[in-house]
């Protein structure tokens, strides 16, 4: 018997999980956040249902502060695959002028991301939402189930999670309850890049280094993607060769100086890196149990 490779095993597990949701949930949705994990998730969903298409729509929760290249990539990719994409913006937040600068990263993320996601899930009455989160990303994710049950209020209770022995997923739920489902739970950042390379999955060009206009602020390099970002006194825009390890709202996502402009270079750089990928994310660092708390409140 030929043994499956490491990536083949991870792929088969993820496809199994994705099909399980399609078979047992009534109204699933795939949360598409445009980044590399979402790209892999989407690729796996296409594989799971070939020659058909995934029997669920995609949802992008747009904070209105994503990189322009992300939005362009999203629209091109969805058109190419012929899929249904729902885009949701928290209009109350937009009307109130919530933004990462004046409101701070915490409030902005809560209103435009966490609240917006809850609004969208309630609006379309989705009972299962796929996410690309991986257990290696952050400490509290390490203990999250693959099928993570949420109350009708979208809260996560880390103390009453269902055991998931073997691949027997208990997908029963009461009206109003829903699942967050993480098919990439067992993948690492290295696995994701290896798979992107092996399967030739298109990803946003922001992952590859090139000269970009950046501002050094609060110990991070922020790419000034549009003129909504006002320069503070003494700040200057410089062109530097940078790339991004993760993609989120541009004012909250730090660039790393790099010359890695190809996939093999990115993979080599990541393997030699001694810093975790979420290090560039401002929102993870608001206190020791920050992410766990956000998740209990309904963050993905």
């Amino acid at each position: 018997m030929i043994q499956l490779t490491h990536l083949q095993k991870l792929e088969a597990e993820a496809i199994h999980i994705i099909r399980e949701v399609a078979a047992t949930c009534e109204n699933p949705v795939l949360l598409y956040s445009i980044g590399k994990d979402s790209a892999v998730l989407l690729h796996l969903a296409m594989k799971a249902f070939a020659p058909g298409k995934p029997p669920f729509p995609l949802l992008h929760v747009d904070t209105t502060w994503k990189f322009r290249e992300m939005i362009a990539f999203r629209d091109a990719r969805i058109a190419e695959l012929g899929l249904e994409l729902l885009v949701h913006v928290n209009e109350e937040g937009r009307a109130a002028g919530v933004n990462p600068f004046a409101s701070g990263s915490r409030l902005h993320t809560d209103v435009m991301k966490t609240q917006a996601l809850r609004q969208a899930l309630d609006k379309y009455k989705f009972d299962a939402a796929f996410g690309g989160a991986r257990r290696d990303e952050e400490r509290s994710r390490a203990k999250e189930r693959i099928f993570s049950l949420r109350t009708p209020e979208h809260r996560w209770d880390p103390k009453s999670q269902r055991p998931e022995p073997w691949r027997l997923f208990n997908t029963r739920k009461r009206p109003g309850e829903s699942f967050r489902v993480f098919p990439l739970s067992n993948w690492t950042e290295a696995d994701v890049w290896d798979y992107v390379a092996l399967e030739k999955i298109p990803v946003v060009p922001l992952y590859f280094a090139k000269p970009r206009p950046v501002v050094a602020r609060d110990g991070m390099l922020i790419m000034r993607d549009d003129d909504r970002m006002e320069l503070r006194a003494g700040e200057e825009i410089e062109m530097r060769s940078v790339r991004f390890r993760t993609l989120g709202c541009y004012p909250l996502t730090g660039a790393v100086e790099s010359t890695a402009a190809t996939l093999p270079e990115i993979i080599a750089e990541m393997r030699s890196s001694r810093v975790s990928e979420r290090q560039g994310r401002l929102i993870d660092h608001d206190g020791g149990a920050s992410m766990e708390q956000k998740k209990q409140e309904g963050y993905f």
């Binding site: 499956l4 199994h16 594989k47 020659p51 058909g52 022995p165 029963r172 992107v196 092996l198 290090q279």
Partner: protein
């Protein structure tokens, strides 16, 4: 939009190297140092990024138990609640790799209260590391964890005898513990037990051999994990079992059956049958997004296309034509009860393979995990392990866990609360009336005769008895008719009619009876046994 520059051939080769993944579990008693060990493995293999390490320095001072030194356990004690309590309350998955292998570690709770989390972590593991505190030796928890690990089929064990620094790296202590562990687990059927003297705190015999244990002739822990052979025994080349997970019908032209191959391999042109129906057909396509394949193997998630327009739905199993996997409603097995409310027989849902069915259980015995002795019991407490008989309301395709890790495993769900209340393994399958998969005779109704003849919950003996009784009663009717009518022809007709009509009436009655009892959500077998009422 495509990624700049594709991979070089040697890079592709590196990514497609076979089986460089090991899933293992760590378990041990409270304070044996599991989290420290995993923290040590992550740290020594360079899996801890600098920013997390910096956060760890801060955390070590706030919550740590090692003074100003780094408390590696805090790397894996992720949830705020457990950092305060200093215990690991939930199974945490960790990832690290070396140039030789990638590892997925289930760090599982030591406390007895969280045995269910431990069993969950063990169910997916190919190897278990059982920690023993060198000062304490083999404890009740050590035996308990070893038992659970063996129950869910882990066959390779590493006993890491930890805190050797606190017993002066004494070879005698190490040997005594190894001896007592071997004695305690003699009956658990492990294929391999490797003992390693370690200090997770100091790193002795973890990444490299320790100068303090010159008497130890084995390998360091990471070295062992990198090289241990966990290749499953070669499957029967003709075997195939694939539970149907999802029927793929994107349009009227295509119908495929998606699922993960539980056992064996699928090939184009292979003769297969669908269980429970027994309908026979052939594989005409193995479809993937990257084109059609000629073959697919165990653990792959595939979509099979079948030659004939046969009916199959989620929960059915596509098997090789000669496969003898039984179809049954009743099985005996061992389970771990995971709910706070004690095990009771009713109101359960059995989830097995890709099937779910209403089910009732009868607890037979409870197993003392310290002595492995069994005593009769009618219930099980939370974290109790026992032997049970499970009766499903409908026939399911099932195998013993020893034969099939997919079709032989199950969970039980509380129908009212949706809580997962038990996990278990099938030890013995009780074939029932509907179909023995080996004996399918006709394409249309392969199970007809068996269905007519057999009583519910049959065994070969009761089946023979039922047939014999029907022949005898038909002969009696025949004889009576002969006496009354004095006509051999009428007597013969009466006898034959009796034989056939009775069978049909019995079958009809059984169907009606089942429907009525199903409406009341009571398992009919439960009534005939008098059990559980």
């Amino acid at each position: 939009m495509n990624a700049p520059l594709a991979l070089q051939a040697h890079e592709v080769a590196a990514l497609t190297a076979p089986a460089a993944l090991l899933r293992f579990i760590t378990c041990g008693s409270v304070d044996d140092g599991k989290s420290t060990l995993i923290g040590r493995l992550l740290y020594d293999t360079g899996a801890v990024p600098e920013d997390q390490l910096a956060a760890l320095h801060g955390d070590s001072r706030r919550f740590g138990t090692q003074g100003d030194a780094l408390d590696l356990a805090l790397l894996v004690d992720g949830l705020a609640a457990e950092r305060e309590q200093g215990i690991t309350i939930d199974v945490a998955y960790r990832y690290f790799s070396t140039p030789r292998r990638a590892f997925i570690v289930a760090d599982t709770p030591g406390h007895e209260q969280y045995t269910r989390n431990m069993a969950t972590g063990a169910s997916g593991a190919e190897l278990a590391i059982i920690l023993v505190d060198a000062r304490k030796g083999v404890l009740a928890q050590t035996r308990r964890h070893s038992f659970i690990v063996s129950m869910v089929g882990v066959r390779r064990v590493v006993v890491a005898i930890n805190k050797m620094d606190l017993v002066g790296f004494d070879e005698g202590v190490f040997n005594a513990i190894a001896e007592s562990y071997r004695a305690a687990t003699r009956h658990l059927g492990f294929d391999e037990i490797v003992f390693i003297p370690v200090s997770a705190l100091r790193g002795d015999n973890i990444a490299s051999l320790s100068a303090d244990t010159p008497w130890y002739a084995g390998r360091a822990l990471i070295d062992h994990l990198e090289t241990v052979d966990v290749t499953p025994a070669a499957a029967d080349p003709l075997a195939l079992r694939m539970p149907v997970q999802w029927v793929n019908r994107p349009n009227a032209q295509f119908r495929g059956f998606s699922g993960t191959i539980a056992n064996g391999a699928a090939r184009i042109g292979q003769d297969v049958k669908i269980l429970p129906s027994g309908l026979r057909t052939r594989i005409s396509g193995i479809v993937t997004a990257a084109g059609d394949r000629a073959e697919a193997q165990q653990d792959e998630a595939v979509t099979l296309v079948l030659e004939d327009e046969v009916d199959a739905s989620r929960g059915d199993v596509i098997v090789a034509a000669q496969d003898i996997t039984p179809v049954a409603r009743v099985f005996d097995g061992r389970l771990l009860w995971m709910s706070e409310r004690a095990a009771s027989g009713q109101g359960l849902i059995l989830q097995q393979g890709m099937s779910t069915a209403n089910a009732a259980i009868t607890v037979r015995t409870q197993i003392d995990v310290n002595t492995f002795a069994e005593r009769p019991s009618e219930t099980l407490p939370v974290n109790g392990i026992g032997r049970v008989r499970v009766r499903a309301e409908k026939p399911l395709v099932m195998a013993t866990y020893a034969q099939d890790r997919v079709l032989g495993a199950f969970i039980l769900i509380d129908r009212l609360t949706n809580e997962t209340v038990a996990l278990g393994v099938i030890d013995e399958v009780n074939p029932v009336d509907l179909l023995a998969s080996g004996g399918a005779q006709s394409q249309a109704r392969p199970d007809l005769w068996r269905r007519l003849l057999a009583p519910a919950d049959d065994t070969p003996e009761t089946l023979a008895e039922a047939v014999s009784w029907r022949i005898v009663s038909a002969l009696v009717v025949c004889a009576l008719a002969a006496v009354l009518t004095q006509s051999a022809v009428v007597a013969l007709l009466a006898g034959v009619a009796d034989f056939i009509v009775r069978l049909l009436l019995r079958a009809a009655h059984r169907d009606v009876f089942r429907r009525v009892t199903a409406l009341r959500q009571v398992d009919p077998d439960q009534i005939s046994d008098g059990g559980g009422i």
